[in-house]
Symmetry: C2
Subunit: 181 residues, 2 copies
């Protein structure tokens, strides 16, 4: 599943512009799938060229025309086909964990900085999840609840782990540093 397919899926929620989709990539999708304008705009153009979405141009003054995209029947069919894969990937690419793997080559100060920055980002995500939960209503799709629930659970587990085991990294480094001096 690429950016094109995710955009197509987002449009099942209603018509939207590339700018609108970007906001969704930053908020709700942010913790598991990111995309920038450089992927989104070409994706929408390509979907339109394939007849999977329709585009309505809405003139505006002072800004470029707003392009409102709507999924077509063909697009819906294509999306349902794309969703029919029994083993979708789930990939993590973490410079954070790679860095921590080599913690013995760092100073305690460096490690603490990395850890505290990570905790800050986790806290930002957790705040977002809590806000999303408050906005939830009876017609919030089960998929949305599930994915946000996964995100919240995983972030909390990570937060707990860093808070309870992070010190082991700096303790060890300090031992090594004092032994070396």
């Amino acid at each position: 599943m690429d950016v094109k397919t995710v955009c197509l899926g987002m449009l099942t929620d209603g018509a939207a512009s590339g700018y609108d989709l970007k906001k969704q990539f930053e908020s709700t999708f942010g913790h598991f799938f990111s995309a920038g304008y450089g992927s989104i705009y070409p994706a929408l153009s390509s979907l339109a060229a394939d007849g999977l979405v329709d585009c309505e141009e809405i003139p505006q003054d002072g800004k470029p025309d707003r392009k409102l995209y709507r999924i077509t029947e063909a697009g819906r069919g294509q999306l349902i086909t794309a969703l029919d894969k029994p083993d979708p990937s789930h990939k993590v690419r973490s410079e954070f964990l790679a860095t921590m793997w080599f913690a013995h080559l760092m100073t305690g100060e460096q490690i603490r900085a990395v850890l505290s920055n990570r905790l800050e980002e986790i806290a930002r995500y957790l705040e977002m999840f809590e806000q999303l939960e408050q906005e939830e209503s009876a017609d919030t799709p089960a998929g949305t609840r599930f994915v946000c629930g996964c995100g919240k659970t995983v972030m909390q587990a990570l937060q707990d782990y860093i808070e309870s085991h992070g010190h082991e990294l700096t303790d060890d480094t300090n031992v090594r540093l004092s032994a070396a001096n």
Copy 2:
């Protein structure tokens, strides 16, 4: 931090070949940083060209010469510089979660297949973590323990969440399907 830097870091553990590094990418690093031969071999060549690693060619019969790489002092310096970033990224790209977001467009059968495949992969990782824990000794670096601990904790949280909330996805779909028929 790219594949080159991670390879450099792996070599602080002792000399290794590209083939050896690949095995480490598949096992211990597998859950947070992956790389194939197509990235590893060019990375090692490039590191050697920059004098960050030395290469010793060991003739073998029937197989290509084994190329044993060792990190140099320059390489160690470069690695320590690369590690000095206070905010390393931690990115997830999950087709799995994207698929589940759109669960209302899928059948209960499709959803159950996706969920059970995900649980199987999680179980494989958890088995690996347990085996690694048994192999741990007093001189296992703190970084290794920490990263594996993170992985195990997060995987368990995800497993628990899927097991306790997965049915909400299929329940909802069944309601929708029977309402539609």
